[in-house]
């Protein structure tokens, strides 16, 4: 790859493996060259969010290990009675499929965005947002059902008192993240629809020009929300 530029902003030939990492980070130059800056910034934000959810999940683990009261059985607590039969974790399974589907449509939206297919990208982004909103609605239904059954942050009818506070904190933070994601998905969808990204029109809050990378960056956030759900599903509902 031939380069005229002598500055370090242009891409450098990427060495393989560890040598590549060393050359990326050394010599007083910009790290992660050739990656549009918004992407590493979103990744770094997601790392910080990982620590937040990590601390919630690890503290949930700690209180569950240390409590002498038996922990309520999630299969029974989160089961639904449909058509006369009791199906364990039914709503949770549906919520998982909804969120995974939304991740799939999001990945497709990013792909079509880079192809500059505005219509398809717009539709896929809206489907992703709709699936996310469905997820939040089901989570709200779950909360209502449990609250009506007597679950509180300080106690519940079935076992250890910490169950309620762990459940509401973890799913509450996750549901909030999903809601914020839905709002941003709609905003990005509107920008795609209006052609702001084709014309590189400056954004409302930033004044910077937009381009289709923001669809990918939005995708990173949305996949992170799905990722957190994978961990919550495994550690809280299944364990």
């Amino acid at each position: 790859m031939a380069h005229d530029a002598t500055g370090t902003a242009a891409s450098l030939p990427q060495a393989e493996g560890l040598q590549g990492i060393v050359s990326d980070l050394s010599s007083d130059q910009r790290a992660f060259k050739n990656v549009p800056w918004g992407k590493p910034m979103m990744w770094i934000f997601l790392v910080s969010d990982t620590f937040i959810f990590g601390s919630f999940l690890i503290s949930y683990m700690t209180v569950r290990i240390s409590t002498t009261e038996p922990w309520p059985n999630p299969s029974e607590v989160f089961s639904l009675t449909v058509f006369g039969t009791n199906v364990p974790l039914l709503l949770i399974a549906i919520m998982t499929f909804v969120l995974i589907s939304s991740s799939g449509t999001m990945a497709l939206a990013v792909n079509y965005g880079y192809r500059k297919d505005r219509r398809t990208t717009f539709i896929l982004l809206l489907i992703t947002a709709a699936l996310g909103a469905t997820f939040v609605g089901m989570q709200a239904f779950e909360w209502t059902k449990l609250i009506m059954e007597g679950v509180r942050p300080w106690g519940n009818p079935w076992g250890a008192a910490q169950f309620g506070s762990a459940f509401f904190m973890i799913t509450g933070f996750h549901g909030t993240h999903v809601t914020i994601g839905v709002i941003f998905l709609i905003i990005v969808a509107m920008k795609v629809w209006r052609g702001d990204l084709d014309k590189e029109r400056p954004g409302f809050l930033t004044g910077r020009k937009g381009n289709y990378e923001i669809v990918e960056i939005m995708g990173l956030y949305w996949h992170f929300v799905d990722l957190v759900w994978v961990f919550i599903f495994a550690f809280f509902y299944l364990w």
Binding site: V47, T50, I65, H223, A234
Partner: protein, 131 residues
């Protein structure tokens, strides 16, 4: 990483042009999507068939890590990113395992002391606590 090299070569034709994006054929997204569904069903079956004990925990964790890995690597494009970015993002959360270990050790100790000092008095005169 050959994929990434091809795209970089593309972008260098116009200096300062944005990476045309990591466009991959759509098929891979559908395949991974299907795989995620299968893994989710498998996770659900762990509970449905009432697996217990070590096997249950092992399966839950394996399916969880597989799903997480697929989402990060393919959907979030990590598989095609520069190694420096991959390591910068993946290593810090892995270090959380240390906190997990500390939490588990501490939790077990708390459980043990609660059982010892607050549990029912099962012996005759209780021995004087040494701590």
């Amino acid at each position: 990483m050959a994929h990434a090299e091809g795209h970089h070569a593309h972008a260098d034709v116009k200096p300062g042009a944005h990476d045309p994006g990591q466009q991959h054929p759509l098929g891979i997204y559908f395949k991974i999507w299907g795989l995620l569904f299968v893994l989710s069903i498998a996770s659900y079956l762990v509970d449905y068939f009432h697996f217990q004990g070590l096997l249950r925990w092992f399966l839950i964790i394996v399916f969880m890590l597989l799903k997480a890995g697929l989402i990060v690597a393919v959907f979030m494009h990590m598989l095609w990113e520069r190694l420096a970015l991959v390591y910068a993002i993946v290593i810090p959360p892995l270090l959380l395992v240390t906190l997990l270990g500390i939490g588990a050790l501490d939790g077990k100790y708390t459980f043990f002391t609660r059982g010892t000092y607050f549990g029912p008095d099962t012996t005759a005169p209780a021995p004087a606590p040494h701590k």
